[in-house]
Symmetry: C2
Subunit: 526 residues, 2 copies
């Protein structure tokens, strides 16, 4: 039995566009003389659709889309993911289509308490089999089932199946890929059945789907792995496949994911170009590299926005980086604008030059970049990292201005790793940017370490407190000074209001992307 795994990159809501991709994949499957073509979860609609599911326009389009596929009368078994609307209920379904008939519809029957909140939208289906080519195929929609610890309710279902098919759209976070392969291998081995796993690929808003569809043998061996972060339509025949090894998740994996995230965010939004404020620091340098990789050098603009506190070195570093990347570079000084504000704000007397003036400079930069964005149709990419966002070391409407925080989910220490990866073959990011001490350059001689512990201490404390929910006491026992830990926790707790207004963050490192940290807006614990 030949199976075509159709790992496509849909745009959420764009039924017409997704239909074209689906049709192309079916034609490829037909030319491969395949028996079945399998698409990812909700592929006709794109995943995750959230409240679009409740939108009548979408309902009609989905129903038309399914009709169009039937009308095409394709002589092949098609397993297509799409919602099914019935009275007041919606199901997350797989339509088994052959020629002009829906042979069967199987609705998702197993939900975990997932962060996308599927339970808020979908009703429960009941398990059923697909009988194709004298084989009983067991079908799970989503990878909720794989990641759950208790499979006992489905023992008989699994046992009766000749083959297990998992049709999923499961977003990526660092470490999840390996975990997923292990869980599916265990499942396959435990029931001694082959398992095929089909996943969505592409960036959809903040979420990134890595693709990497799988075929696993009865012994739990990897037989096939689809392309990572790329569309991939491949026809496989399980009996002709041999054990292979997975590509593994290294720093390049993370980088490629961010590149795809930026590319799809901008292109799916209908834009081509990105503008980035280049401070001469490492964060904006890394974002520029990612954007160039995602969009091409002709579509990226770097802007240096020097103030009286900006060193000549910073401007030169930004310029050198732009030259290395082959991107356009502009310089717009902010000093005169800054003084025009101070004149209105302090008509007499000297400016105080504290945090109000520091933030003002950052916000002037935000305004200038947004002006370019509005006038010349560039998407402004914000360049803050996760260490800054968690400690509130950023200026709302200033350096946080933009449509997307590209590295907002990446700790500063990982930013350095990514920058070194970019430079692996030749110096793209000028060495000086990597070597110098991080600084916001908002006052004379300012360094990040005046306000924050060194990142080599800060990041592990943040990971322990935020990602692992460790208490102050437990973190102190890890070997950090109580005073420092306390200061970091205070910074996190007092900056929730900033995180409510920063741009959407490409989620790639953290485990629980959408609900990672839901805190009351106003609360008091410290």
């Amino acid at each position: 039995m030949k199976i075509t795994i159709a790992q496509i990159n849909p745009i959420i809501g764009d039924i017409e566009g997704n239909f074209i991709k689906i049709k192309d994949a079916i034609l490829k499957a037909l030319s491969d003389k395949s028996d079945i073509v399998v698409f990812s979860e909700l592929s006709l609609l794109g995943y995750p659709p959230f409240d679009l599911l409740k939108n009548n326009i979408i309902k009609n389009k989905i129903e038309e889309g399914v009709k169009r596929i039937l009308q095409e009368n394709f002589p092949i078994n098609i397993l297509l993911g799409a919602p099914y609307f019935e009275d007041n209920r919606i199901y997350n379904s797989i339509y088994w289509i052959k020629e002009n008939k829906i042979i069967k519809r199987i609705d998702k029957f197993y939900f975990s308490n997932d962060p996308i909140g599927q339970g808020n939208y979908f009703s429960y289906g009941t398990p059923d089999f697909l009988e194709i080519d004298n084989k009983k195929i067991g079908l799970f929609i989503g990878d909720d089932f794989i990641f759950s610890s208790d499979h006992s309710n489905y023992k008989d279902y699994l046992k009766t199946s000749d083959l297990i098919l998992i049709i999923s759209s499961s977003f990526y976070y660092f470490g999840k890929r390996q975990e997923r392969i292990e869980k599916i291998s265990q499942l396959a081995k435990g029931i001694e059945k082959e398992v095929i796993y089909v996943n969505q690929v592409g960036g959809n808003g903040e979420l990134i789907f890595e693709g990497g569809s799988l075929a696993i043998s009865k012994k739990g061996e990897l037989l096939f792995e689809g392309e990572i972060f790329k569309e991939d339509i491949k026809t496989i025949d399980l009996k002709n496949l041999y054990p292979t090894s997975s590509k593994g998740e290294d720093i390049s994996f993370l980088y490629d994911g961010l590149v795809l995230g930026v590319r799809d965010f901008i292109k799916k939004s209908g834009f081509q170009k990105a503008v980035i404020g280049l401070s001469g620091g490492i964060d904006s340098a890394l974002v520029a590299c990612i954007a160039r990789e995602a969009l091409g050098e002709e579509n990226v603009l770097g802007v240096s926005l020097p103030s009286i506190y900006t060193s000549r070195e910073s401007i030169e570093d930004a310029e050198k980086l732009s030259k290395n990347l082959g991107i356009e570079f502009r310089i717009i000084p902010i000093s005169d604008i800054f003084y025009s504000y101070l004149k209105e704000l302090n008509p007499s007397g000297n400016p105080i030059m504290d945090v109000a003036e520091e933030n003002l400079q950052s916000r002037i930069r935000g305004n200038l970049l947004m002006f370019i964005s509005n006038r010349e149709e560039y998407i402004l990419l914000a360049t803050g990292n996760r260490s800054e966002a968690l400690t509130g070391y950023c200026t709302l409407y200033g350096d946080t201005a933009g449509a997307l925080e590209v590295i907002g989910d990446i700790y500063k220490t990982t930013v350095y790793e990514l920058a070194n990866y970019v430079n692996k073959n030749n110096e793209i990011i000028p060495q000086n940017i990597l070597a110098k001490a991080p600084s916001a350059e908002l006052r004379p001689g300012q360094k990040d370490e005046d306000s924050l512990p060194p990142y080599s201490i800060l990041d592990p404390i943040l990971k322990a407190y935020v990602d692992e929910n460790k208490s102050l006491e437990e973190i102190v026992q890890m070997g950090y000074k109580r005073e420092i830990v306390k200061t970091v926790i205070e910074k996190v707790e007092r900056s929730e209001y900033k995180r409510r207004q920063i741009p959407p963050v490409l989620r790639i490192r953290s485990k629980n992307p959408l609900k990672e940290r839901i805190f009351p807006l106003v609360y008091k614990i410290i």
Copy 2:
């Protein structure tokens, strides 16, 4: 049997502060010679706590807080809402405490699929009774049960109870109060038992809790209604109460809710003062009135930020409003700052003066107000309304800058109703502000109606599309022109990215506050 209803206003996470309020209420109950004192759901912690539940600091504080109450050895039955932590589980519990003992703990056993997502945090308990004074008291935590349509599983439980107690922390939206009273009356009547309903009061972040605790007779009559939008500790004896009528939800109700929301947002954040940009328009005028009511005239600052396009009338209207309110008023012109930007952005040639320059002016205003906020410790209140937020008729980092959107949940047509309510006795908001055509004054002669349909048409279309999920076709059938409906839908669909970055919105009008509109960030349906 005397019951003290303790309708308190807790700060989320502030166990020490909440403990003091709880102790005061217990002392009041003791002096009233009450038999039981009943607090709202999770009152020791404050509601909703979200991920604070997973925080070890909170866990320890809650356990200490409960211990402190036991140590006080109060000679009265106390029903106190607090989480119970057990291994890896958390329960939403009522502790029945008397003297130095926890007589019983009842854990929440009925959850709806609520927008706060309680199911993500809490494990299920089992129904149980409180036996006080020879009475079997049935206990429900939260009003999930009241708002569910199916009570059949709890028929026996309800029948066996002598009295039903509903301990809740249920946020307010316009219309919910009446619905709640009706549902509880139906319940009481249906089972022929008295029902007592205890609710939290206060603003907690975006959410507002109205209080208004209730006692309902066996016949479904209202016997007691606690204060609305105020703390209220009252001792009642059901056998001494007579039917009365509810206060009802009129426009004053909405206004009082917004006032409480602003007051608690600012005070619970540890601030005293608010600054508002006064454009001379109705939105900022209304927000200034609400802020003055919430904080007192000495704590509100109005700032006029005129550009070359600002009419003299607008400045005068803003000044007159400030005088009427007795608040401080400043004028900071933005023209020179605007020109200093244009000089850097267009070193040669004339500025184009399109949306880029319009947004720039709005953002200069945002910067100036944030400067005052940073320098003088004012909270900046944003003044956008719901009609603007839904159509994207606003400038990110400009007029949307601020810590809180006070009227972001209120349609423009309701803004007029609220303004007229403010002026019911004398002219607080100058008549000219109410009479003139709405304008952003970002270019010569600009009117809102150049970009949007009249609000009397826009608002019903938005309500139909967003609040009621009606399709284009259905809205056209309501009697609106297809072209206009299509334009409005397009505006809504294309401005999702703006709503991702606007400040938190005080939720008071809409039914589903936290998840009202969860859309993919990037999608395509129009």
